[in-house]
């Protein structure tokens, strides 16, 4: 019995240390993010993105937009992408074996005619049925292909047909702000030799009002479950990515909006077709490729080029999405485990990847373990209630502080939510998200891990409303 008591005590202490380290890591990230954002805001005073638009030397960009059953939103999405402010773009929309009217919608709206572009199969992809170019806007190319079963497969087809030195990978159900390309190119223009990839910020579209394929008014979503995701996105992007990118350890550039050097993406063979977290996988392989070559490179994050995306509005879809993200995490970490603690992989191997293993991948397992030890200790009457309450309270207020910090980041810098009501709601969510959302999140992630272990790697569709004029989501 004494041995068990000691074991439980050790487990509880370990749990405490784990939470402490996790929170301290977040606190450090928050401080770094505040500092970096302030510097970025000052920089924008002298390096305005509009000089990129004016420059005849701005390198062309190919936008790759995969579309699978997007009949509701494809017209608005493509029109919006063609209206992006940048001197030279090529837009490749990849119709990934849609079973609905996506292809017909594209054909009707943009008057497509068949063409034969130079297509070199560098990255693996399913069979291409045909290539089309718009007669309305010749910058638009449509690649019609068999369904490859993944976004990665579709992006690879576009990558094979891309003709620009940079590719910008977007989701066709997302919406980029007009100056997003110019802004995302700022780090590239500042250091084209070293910057190989840049990620922009993803924001929640639900609730905002759309007009002409652009956001007319930014509003918070109405549903609580969507507002929680707003806070999550702010925390992930304005704190997490901002801080990791500072140390050149950014491991994820969101698949909804990321810019890469074309030659390097081709050099690593494009996206891994079977990967679940294809965006994370690509960045991990880029790091590996460049570190093995001992290249001097940077993968950056810029917080002001904005991509708006629709997030799941129901628990079922959210559960699927989060489960898939966690599967994706494991799917990338496992094949890259040889990078851990190896000198040649530098900080990525010593800091970024271990962090992801311990504080992201294992987080739900440790959390569950913690709950179980507490339950066992309580059952055996070995639990110090006083300590438990203090511990839970500490976890609660500290995590709340980090969330409020992300709202403050938003307030200090980009201030997209102007209404007092919206800010009040955001702050309230910072306090309320810990129960029961956090526990549900833990369950979804555990389920994702379990499915991965069982070999269930299938992609289950999420329920989406699609982009429509007027209030979205």
């Amino acid at each position: 019995m004494r041995g068990l008591a000691e074991l439980l005590d050790a487990a509880n202490r370990s749990l405490f240390v784990y939470y402490l380290l996790s929170n301290l890591a977040y606190l450090a990230a928050l401080i770094i993010a505040f500092k970096t954002t302030a510097a970025h805001q000052h920089r924008l005073q002298s390096t305005r993105p509009d000089w990129i638009g004016d420059s005849p030397l701005a390198p062309p960009i190919t936008i790759l937009a995969p579309a699978h059953n997007e009949e509701k939103s494809i017209r608005i999405a493509v029109r919006s992408l063609l209206e992006l402010e940048y001197p030279e773009i090529e837009l490749i929309v990849i119709n990934d074996g849609s079973r609905d009217r996506t292809m017909e919608e594209l054909r009707d709206e943009f008057q497509l005619r068949p063409v034969r572009p130079v297509y070199v199969q560098v990255a693996p992809s399913a069979r291409v049925r045909g290539f089309y170019r718009s007669t309305v806007d010749p910058r638009l190319v449509v690649v019609d292909k068999d369904a490859g079963g993944s976004k990665a497969d579709a992006v690879n087809a576009g990558l094979n047909a891309a003709t620009s030195p940079y590719v910008c990978i977007v989701d066709s159900d997302s919406l980029l702000e007009r100056d997003a390309l110019r802004r995302i190119m700022v780090p590239v223009m500042a250091d084209p030799a070293r910057v190989v990839g840049v990620g922009g910020i993803i924001r929640v579209l639900n609730g905002s009002e759309l007009q002409g394929g652009q956001i007319r008014r930014v509003r918070l979503p109405r549903k609580g479950i969507e507002i929680v995701q707003v806070v999550e996105y702010l925390r992930a992007f304005l704190i997490g990515r901002e801080a990791w990118a500072q140390g050149n350890m950014l491991m994820i550039i969101s698949g909804a909006f990321g810019l890469f050097r074309t030659d390097l993406v081709r050099a690593v063979g494009g996206y891994r077709s079977k990967s679940i977290g294809e965006d994370f996988d690509l960045v991990a392989r880029l790091h590996r490729h460049l570190l093995e070559k001992k290249a001097d490179y940077k993968i950056q994050f810029v917080p002001d080029p904005v991509c708006w995306t629709e997030v799941p509005g129901d628990l079922r879809s959210l559960a699927r999405q989060r489960g898939r993200w966690h599967k994706g995490l494991l799917d990338v970490l496992l094949p890259n485990k040889d990078m851990l603690f190896r000198r040649r992989y530098g900080r990525v191997g010593f800091l970024a990847l271990p962090y992801l293993w311990i504080f992201e991948l294992f987080a739900p397992v440790i959390e569950l373990g913690g709950l179980l030890t507490i339950a066992v200790a309580a059952f055996l009457g070995m639990l110090s209630e006083h300590f438990l309450v203090q511990f839970l309270l500490y976890g609660y207020v500290f995590a709340t502080m980090i969330s409020i910090g992300s709202v403050l980041q938003e307030e200090l810098t980009y201030k997209r939510y102007n209404d007092w009501q919206d800010v009040a709601k955001l702050l309230s969510v910072c306090f309320l998200e810990h129960f029961p959302y956090r526990q549900l999140h833990m369950y979804w992630r555990l389920k994702g891990l379990w499915e991965y272990m069982r070999g269930d790697l299938s992609w289950k569709p999420l329920k989406r409303q699609g982009m429509q004029e007027g209030p979205a989501g």
Binding site: T47, S55, A58, R116, P117, A190, V397, L427
Partner: protein, 405 residues
């Protein structure tokens, strides 16, 4: 070191986890309260500030004519920093979009009200972000008297300030500003990213590209490459001979720049030089030469461009395809020569460009109505056009030549 570590552990041990957690809770609660308080106070302050600012902007807008004519004495708003910033902002915003007459009027106002002098003083006196603000404002005025203050700031230790100064000089768009940038470049080398530097120089050298020549001749390494790229953008017909020299330079970047600039010069000379450059060892020099040949639109360039369809580089082939399609002359005759070239990659590049330019129906019609060609020859060409593959005999020859790229 060891004793310090030991004392830290001792202190932690004394605290015990529970005490430590209590302290952590108190600290975190304080953090929460402070953060929320800060957000709310900041919001309230900003709301008040913007309301005040908006009212003042409206008031100044109403009296704008009287303000810039001096009817309302400058001292009425100059002494108050808040009012001065608003007036300056309105004037600079108007200056950004004004025509030449209006620009002159606004510049007169900025001078006579002393706003430019104040910004010059700040750009010289201040450091850090204050200096940066002054530099950005000074650049926006495009007042030549600001050039020296901006040029001084090119030597600032802060990279952002150097960029602000550079961008300001770029907005001046005058040879004097170009001279300052070039002198700094010669003195310190490249201390800012190449792109803003090139953009600024392109703006400033457009009027008198000759200012680049001595620096191009005496510069070294990356500086020469940057200047060559600028030259390729701003070259004028008078620079023909200098461009010829550049075309023979050892640095491929310079040869590429010369190729890019060549269409601005005398066509005969350009053709001769571009013919050489289209056979350069380095792919991007050939690429530039092919693009330039396409721009000249001289029928004499057609054989060269068709030859470039068989280039080893995919990008050169693609550009050559676009150029061949845009060439003046008999479309069908050109297609025959493309097929005769016997390069399947070249044929593909040509057909891709033809379809991109929506000219395939035209070629099909010409092929159908042609009376010059035999029926057999027509079928051969139609098949090549339809399938994108070389006719059998040529495909075999190409395969034998091992032309697999």
């Amino acid at each position: 070191m060891d004793s310090a570590m030991a004392s830290v552990f001792e202190a932690l041990a004394k605290l015990g986890p529970a005490t430590f957690v209590v302290k952590a809770i108190v600290a975190a609660v304080a953090g929460d309260v402070l953060l929320i308080g800060f957000i709310l106070l900041r919001r309230a302050y900003r709301k008040r500030y913007f309301a005040r600012r908006d009212a003042r902007v409206f008031e100044f807008r109403e009296k704008w004519g009287a303000i810039i004519s001096g009817e309302i004495p400058y001292r009425a708003w100059r002494k108050n920093a808040f009012k001065r910033r608003i007036v300056e902002e309105i004037a600079l915003n108007e200056l950004d979009t004004a025509n030449s007459k209006e620009s002159a009027r606004l510049l007169r106002f900025l001078r006579s009200s002393g706003l430019i002098e104040k910004r010059i003083f700040e750009a010289r006196r201040h450091r850090g972000w204050r200096r940066r603000n002054a530099l950005v404002a000074l650049g926006r005025t495009r007042a030549p008297e600001g050039i020296h203050a901006l040029a001084d700031a090119l030597r600032d230790d802060d990279n952002e300030n150097r960029l602000a100064a550079l961008r300001g000089l770029g907005r001046m768009a005058s040879p004097e500003a170009a001279m300052e940038i070039l002198a700094w470049l010669a003195e310190h080398g490249i201390q800012v990213p190449a792109l803003p530097l090139q953009s600024a120089l392109i703006n400033c050298c457009r009027e008198r590209p000759q200012v680049l020549i001595p620096y191009l001749q005496h510069g070294t390494g990356e500086v020469r490459e940057v200047l060559a790229r600028v030259m390729s953008e701003v070259a004028s017909p008078g620079l023909g001979e200098n461009l010829m020299n550049l075309a023979e330079d050892d640095l491929p970047e310079l040869r590429a720049a010369a190729a890019r600039a060549m269409p601005t010069t005398n066509t005969y000379q350009a053709m001769e030089t571009l013919t050489q450059l289209a056979k350069d060892q380095v792919w991007y020099v050939r690429l530039r030469a092919v693009v330039a040949l396409g721009k000249i639109k001289n029928p004499e360039a057609t054989p060269l461009l068709i030859e470039a369809l068989g280039d080893a580089s995919r990008l050169v082939r693609a550009r050559a395809g676009e150029a061949v399609v845009a060439q003046p002359g008999d479309l069908l005759a050109i297609f025959e020569r493309v097929v005769e070239l016997g390069d399947r990659y070249g044929l593909h590049a040509y057909l891709a460009a033809l379809e991109n330019a929506a000219m395939r129906p035209k070629l099909e019609a010409e092929l159908k109505n042609c009376i010059r060609l035999s029926a057999e020859e027509k079928i051969r060409l139609e098949q090549a056009l339809e399938s994108g593959k070389l006719p059998a005999t040529q495909a075999m020859t190409a395969a034998m030549a091992g032309a697999d790229r």
